[in-house]
Symmetry: C2
Subunit: 361 residues, 2 copies
DNA sequence: CTGAAAGCGCTTACAG
DNA sequence: CTGAAAGCGCTTACAG
């Protein structure tokens, strides 16, 4: 349909130069009140919205952040995305939700800034990313990792609950309600991840409580979804492994466990207790309802956003410094930059165990 | 961190003019093979990704589509978004997922193209949008409405399952399994919507089957989520309304109904059968599992995307035509434009009723 | 307080 | 086949 209305249309309508319109839009205090009114009126009549593309191209901050999640099928990520977008909107930022579908390539591209549209920062819940992807990068936007510290790398910070202690909390709760043979669902490979940290906490606490820790009680799953959880619990049952509780790496796996136990006629929590992580909304609606480790989601979103924005603003400053430096004399400012980029900051988010029917004594 | 690598860096590295790089990137067949190789090598070494912002600003297609959904908390929308983004990626388009949180203002802004970054088309699952929002607009991107035809408007098409007949299918299934007092959950207001169409089909089929249709059996809910479904069923029960089946406007409401019935000691499906719409993944995991109307999601995504892309391409052509016309003589090309913009196209997506435990005889 | 200039990265005609 | 020019919408110095 008709052409988009540009700053020049507004200028013409208001009878001023189009640079003046820019001054009004950007709330620069140099415009006389009546000129300002005229311009505002014209903006309103024409329904003008500044085209951010012009600004973006101009350089400087785009005020946009990419949120990269492995999938949106997992309601935890869906909720996270929804909250992050709403919270960012309030702060004048735009969040573009990118679904990686567990593709290392997609994750890498974002982390390295190899995307068609530049952003000021990327918040990523990594799934296939490897430490080297973060260490190798010679450039790229500030990165906020949701979850474990894959590795310490410059310009990368982490926001996560304390997965090791939350796992210990889970074990304590289970031991306190009389369970001893705990099956861990969702063991993962070598790269440090949410799963490896939860397992580490599980193992440490189990050892401390002198619980059995046979290999057969530590189970990997194909994926972290309902069906994988169900299949792995069925498999354990078929193998004749005895256990009186399932500690699942997330709620989806736990829901699958619930289904497997029901299929085999085992009662939850009487025969087997079940716990998960994430406190998805669904956890309050399963039969029986599901005990789960709940991250303080508001805090998580706020911290991730704050880190992204501060990274974005720092990034912009640095660019300014660097440009200034280059313009001045091509000076080597590596010292200065190194200082402001010390990475490895980790924000720990509070969590609590929401006890529901799947683990009552 | 370091400046983004631009087309000029590549040109310098390859020892050609930067316009030649553009020719290579855009696969224009005017570049000699060895020049081309050199450029490709430089692109690879530098990790150059064309900055789409430059293209966007240049005008013409951005190859990006906005998908506006009311919420991501509803797993149906989350899955839709995930699929749409993946499908679009395959076709060289970008999908930006925008959560409106049921805000009429946000929905309106997108439909009118009053957004900070222009897109080629918008696919929207409207929640608060009114017919006038579509009729009034004098400009804006091609719109694909997911769901009912709010109204016939130029440059707006619809993609949806046949909600009226799917509701009739639900009633037929219920009558066939011996149910007569059906409670409808999720009645909505005056504006035509998914809910009103499902209710219309429900009402028509009920009348045809000579089922009771008292006002008390048609229930509105606060929202279309689990808790609203639960509350409304509890309310109906408290009012002493007798019913032997619940027809819920979506699966979330149905899951709430399941919980309410369980709380009151009613057995599903023996005492009360329950059906929903959407066939969310969760429907296969509830207790009992939930009978649901499943849209052919692949077809829905494909149709919505095809409609958006064809709208986008048509839009671009028109712009070209218009510009040409203006350049030539400021000719009035309204006739031409009117013809290519005839709106009101509706694509009907196949659906089927997935029968699960919540309605077995 | 307002106006004219330069430039962000790219593409689209056009000239050589 | 390759190069130089203009312009998309905007902001950021700078001049009047």
């Amino acid at each position: 349909m008709a052409r988009r209305v540009s700053i020049k249309d507004v200028a013409q309508r208001a009878g001023v130069s189009w640079k003046t319109v820019s001054n009004v839009v950007n709330e620069r205090p140099v415009v006389r009140a009546d000129t300002r009114e005229k311009v505002l009126a014209a903006i309103d009549e024409l329904g003008y919205v500044p085209n951010h593309i012009g600004r973006d191209l101009r350089g400087g901050p785009t005020r946009s952040i990419a949120l990269v999640v492995p999938e949106l099928q997992n309601p935890y990520f869906a909720r996270l995305a929804e909250r992050m977008q709403a919270a960012a909107r309030e702060r004048g930022y735009t969040v573009s939700v990118e679904v990686s579908l567990h593709s290392a390539e997609v994750e890498r591209a974002h982390v390295r800034g190899r995307t068609a549209r530049p952003v000021d920062a990327v918040v990523i819940s990594p799934s296939a990313l490897e430490p080297s992807d973060l260490l190798d990068r010679r450039s790229g936007p500030p990165v906020v990792l949701l979850g474990e510290s894959l590795t310490a790398a410059p310009n990368v910070v982490h926001v996560a609950i304390d997965n090791v202690s939350s796992a210990a909390d889970v074990v304590r709760h289970l031991v306190g309600t009389g369970h001893r043979r705990l099956l861990f669902l969702g063991a993962e490979g070598a790269v440090r991840s949410t799963g490896t940290d939860r397992l580490a906490g599980f193992t440490a606490a189990s050892r401390f409580a002198e619980l059995p820790l046979e290999d057969a009680l530590i189970r990997a799953t194909g994926a972290w979804d309902r069906e994988s959880g169900r299949e792995e619990v069925l498999r354990a049952l078929e193998e004749g492994i005895a256990f009186d509780a399932v500690v699942a790496g997330n709620d989806l796996l736990a829901i699958g466990a619930l289904a497997a136990l029901r299929e085999r006629g085992l009662r939850v929590p009487d025969d087997v207790a079940v716990v998960g992580w994430d406190d998805m909304v669904e956890a309050a609606w399963t039969v029986p309802t599901l005990t789960s480790v709940a991250p303080d989601l508001d805090a998580l979103v706020a911290a991730a956003l704050a880190a992204a924005i501060s990274g974005a603003e720092r990034g912009t400053e640095q660019d300014a410094e660097r440009d200034a430096g280059q313009a001045a004399a091509g000076a080597d400012d590596s010292g200065k930059r190194g200082a402001s980029r010390t990475g490895g900051a980790e924000t720990v988010i509070a969590h609590r165990l929401i006890v529901r029917e799947s683990t009552r004594a």
